[in-house]
Amino acid sequence: MKKVSWVCIWALLSLGSALAQQERFRKSPPIPDPLPLLELPKIESARLVNGLTLAVASRPDQPFISLELVILAGESQSPQSLPGLASFTAEMLSRGTPLVSAADMEERIDAIGGDFSTTTTPDFSRFSLHFLDGFLDQALETLSLMVLQPGFSDREIVALKRTQFYELRQKQRDPEFVGRRQLLRILFKEHPYRQSFYSEDVIKNLTRKDIQVFYDLYYRPNNALVVLAGNLNLAIAVRRVSHFLNTWPARDMERPLLPSPQANAEERFCFVDLPQAKEATLVIGNLISPLAEPDYFPLAVLNQVLGGTPFSRLFMNLREAKEYAYSAFSRLYHFRSCGYYAVTAAVIPSASSASIREILRELDRISREKVSNFELEQAKSYLMGYFPLRIVRLDELSRRISELLAFSLGEAQWSGFNDNITLVDADRIFEVAQRYLLPKPVVVIVGDKDLLLDHLRDLERLEVYDLKGVLLYALVKGVEG
């Protein structure tokens, strides 16, 4: 009996120790397998007889087709007196032809399980149509109606003016939108990109004639590109797109590169009043090089270290250590002639001044001290790991290809992306930080002035703007002067 008991105890102890041993793996993260090979979809392209560029990424497993039409004219092509014209023209395209009403266009898109949207940037206007596989002809027919026979009817112009007016009004409730718009108005003061950052009151100035002139000038096949991704190949795409768009007439035109604006150099603090906002929203930024420049890759790594994720310096400092902020991130934005970086943070009002100091301190620190090897490798690992996630959906893939083509980026930003990130070292980051982060950024603060201005008294000079970007007055150490 005793023997049996000892055997039981021994067996239990062995089992316990086996379990404890098994659980050791829980104490530290597992060692990963080698980084898998990234095989990107092949992009094939052709130029049609009327000059239209066509690119195809074949994905035979997909039940959708994603189509992007890019017109290489954006808001920076809007005349100085008519900001918003490029965006308005793009939106008007889906609002009917002389023979097909806007409602019928919507019916056509819905019938193919379509999702249609329009985006206008400072450099281009993009039309995205994502639809069920099997409806390629119907989709291209609808697109050709939009591109070749837009109606620009007075009725639809009035309706769109109303919609855009209210949409912009609505957007102005978002402090981040207001802050970023104000930042860009200042950074692009004299530059054509300034045209993109308009207020809702300019929309009423647009006329049918303006729209028609803009369309006639820029909506040309040799100033456009089409991207198709899904269950099709280049041969089919060339045949079908030619069938529907070969009557689109080309026109001689140039697409000069706009000059790069000068970065801000002087300390500048700006305030925009947003009544009833509970938090202070900070948007701090300055200009950087365009996407196509070799500085892009070290800048991308730098941005990761600074504020790309919740584990970057800004978030860890402002939210985790100081508890000033709900969020604090940095991001790079790119146009054809230049780019800009923006740090955005939503902070508690009483900590707004301290938060600005901390952000400026972090910008200064990264420009004066080389990043550690740990931070460098962590940031590179993030960027390389995240790269395929940016093209995981078919619509993301076609959008990415359209940007590669619109910005003439080539393989460096596609198949060469990971290699280029691998080559970045702490010296290159230090170099670009000195070049782009040392010049003093523009600081924009958005919030309720009754709640915030008291907390911003220690700023030497604070310019106060209205939502239209008009300078109302300036405060010197909190006093109007």
């Binding site: 497993d61 409602a103 919507e106 819905d110 399980g113 919740p310 995981v392």
Partner: protein, 443 residues
């Protein structure tokens, strides 16, 4: 006679072939998947996708807000937050850090019935995610300081949501009318007074009851090797102890069939509005499939009937949105409209009723039904567009009454809906005695 018989057989054969063709045309889930259950009850689903070197992992718990008790609202959402605050081997916020460092995206969401935790990472990092998820399932560290922090974060979220969504208060009041039982009718956000009173023991009890393997489903989709993935899942999850028997969740008694109309005064809304709802057939019941297609006919797409009629043609509403909403075993159709003034509210409601009357008496055209189905199919397939979305969809299906085995037949069921069924469903469900209206008036 024999010729007729042959004709009938041929016709039947033709119909069968059509059916087979339809099934072939509309596969409910056109990706391979396999499943197994661990000894502790954890349901595991694996699905391969070699397109990109990525893997998505979803760990779903039946731990949504419907499992909260009166006076303890907000617990489900609070716990979602606390799952990022550290477990035995992973420090606070380190979960996000580990995933971010390899280029992954971690996230979580709470619905009325399920709380999801999900990550997409490079496929060589699958073990990392399983390590992270298993640690917080097994040994989440809950203490009073963390609970206080999570409570504050939830209260901040409520304040932010109320500022950003002026109609939120009226929507929550409307939900309480539309779902008269406590479990389904209260908000995921919870009541502020309940959240303030929550104790750390409440959080521990909710975690111990619901965050257990026998109440969870783990889904892995992406570039994976099935045998190796199974091995890893077993390594990290098999030794987690089975939880206690889960409390019985009873579906609510059907509410009394009676029209409800009430007013809600609000000083913060920009214009008058109304919420209108109908209690309909439960999710995945026979009529539910018909009503899901009807949802698209009425509300979805730019050419949907109600949007076009109320906003575009008649100009009675500034904004209209609606659709089916399901909360575990109960489904409703909801509509929200914003109007210029109260006369417009009244006219808008009359116009909706007149539209329903029209649909009640005559069948919709096959073209209109085909359009609604195309849009439905688009959104259905869109839920399978990436490994992450596919994993979320599979996790939801594990807990649905049709289960994973019913998955292949789902899309074809929606696609088979015919105009007569739509008319019958409207007659059965879109009737005054199933409706709830809440008129939002400016104070």
């Amino acid at each position: 006679m024999s010729k007729i018989c042959a004709g009938v057989w041929l016709f039947l054969f033709f119909l069968t072939s059509l059916g087979a063709f339809a099934d072939q045309e509309e596969p409910g889930f056109p990706f391979p998947w396999s499943r197994f259950t661990l000894k502790n009850g954890l349901e595991v689903v694996l699905s391969e996708d070699d397109t990109l070197p990525l893997v998505s992992v979803v760990l779903a718990y039946q731990a949504g807000s419907i499992y909260e008790q009166p006076g303890k609202t907000g617990l489900a959402f609070l716990l979602e937050n606390m799952m990022f605050m550290g477990s035995l081997n992973i420090g606070p916020m380190q979960h996000i850090g580990y995933v971010n460092r390899v280029g992954g995206e971690p996230n979580a969401s709470t619905t009325e019935d399920i709380t999801y935790f999900y990550e997409t990472v490079p496929s060589n990092q699958l073990a990392l995610v399983l390590w992270l998820e298993s640690d917080r399932m097994k040994t989440l560290e809950i203490d009073a300081a963390k609970a206080e922090r999570a409570k504050q974060s939830l209260l901040d979220e409520i304040t932010q949501r109320k500022t950003a969504e002026p109609y939120l208060d009226s929507l929550l009041a409307f939900d309480r009318l539309l779902y008269p039982d406590f479990a389904h009718g209260h908000s995921i956000l919870g009541r502020e007074e309940d959240i303030l009173r929550l104790e750390v023991e409440d959080v521990r009890a909710f975690y111990a009851t619901y965050y257990v393997p026998n109440n969870a489903a783990l889904v892995v989709v992406g570039k994976i090797d099935l045998a190796r993935t199974r091995e890893l899942v077993e390594k990290y999850f098999e030794t987690i102890a089975l939880g206690r028997k889960l409390p019985l969740f009873l579906p609510p008694r059907p509410p009394e069939k009676k029209e409800v109309v009430q007013a809600f005064q609000d000083s913060l809304v920009p214009s008058p509005a109304f919420h209108l709802g109908y209690r309909i057939a439960p999710p995945y019941s026979r009529d539910y499939y018909v009503l899901a297609v009807l949802d698209y006919l009425l509300f979805k797409g730019k050419s949907a009937r109600l949007y076009r009629k109320l906003v575009k043609k008649e100009g009675l509403a500034l904004y209209v949105a609606g659709g089916i909403e399901k909360r575990k075993d109960v489904a409703v159709i909801k509509l929200f409209a914003m109007n210029n003034n109260e006369t417009m509210v009244e006219l808008c409601q009359k116009s909706i009723i007149s539209e329903f009357s029209k649909l009640r008496t005559s069948d919709i055209s096959s073209e209109e039904l085909a359009k609604a189905k195309s849009l439905f199919k688009r959104d259905y397939i869109n839920r399978l567009a990436s490994p992450m979305e596919r994993a979320m969809f599979l996790a939801e299906m594990v807990f649905s009454p049709v289960g994973l085995d019913g998955l292949p037949g789902q899309l074809p069921r929606y696609m088979r809906v015919n105009p007569y069924e739509v008319r019958m469903a409207i007659n059965r469900y879109l009737v005054p005695e199933s409706s709830v209206t809440l008129n939002v008036k400016l104070k």
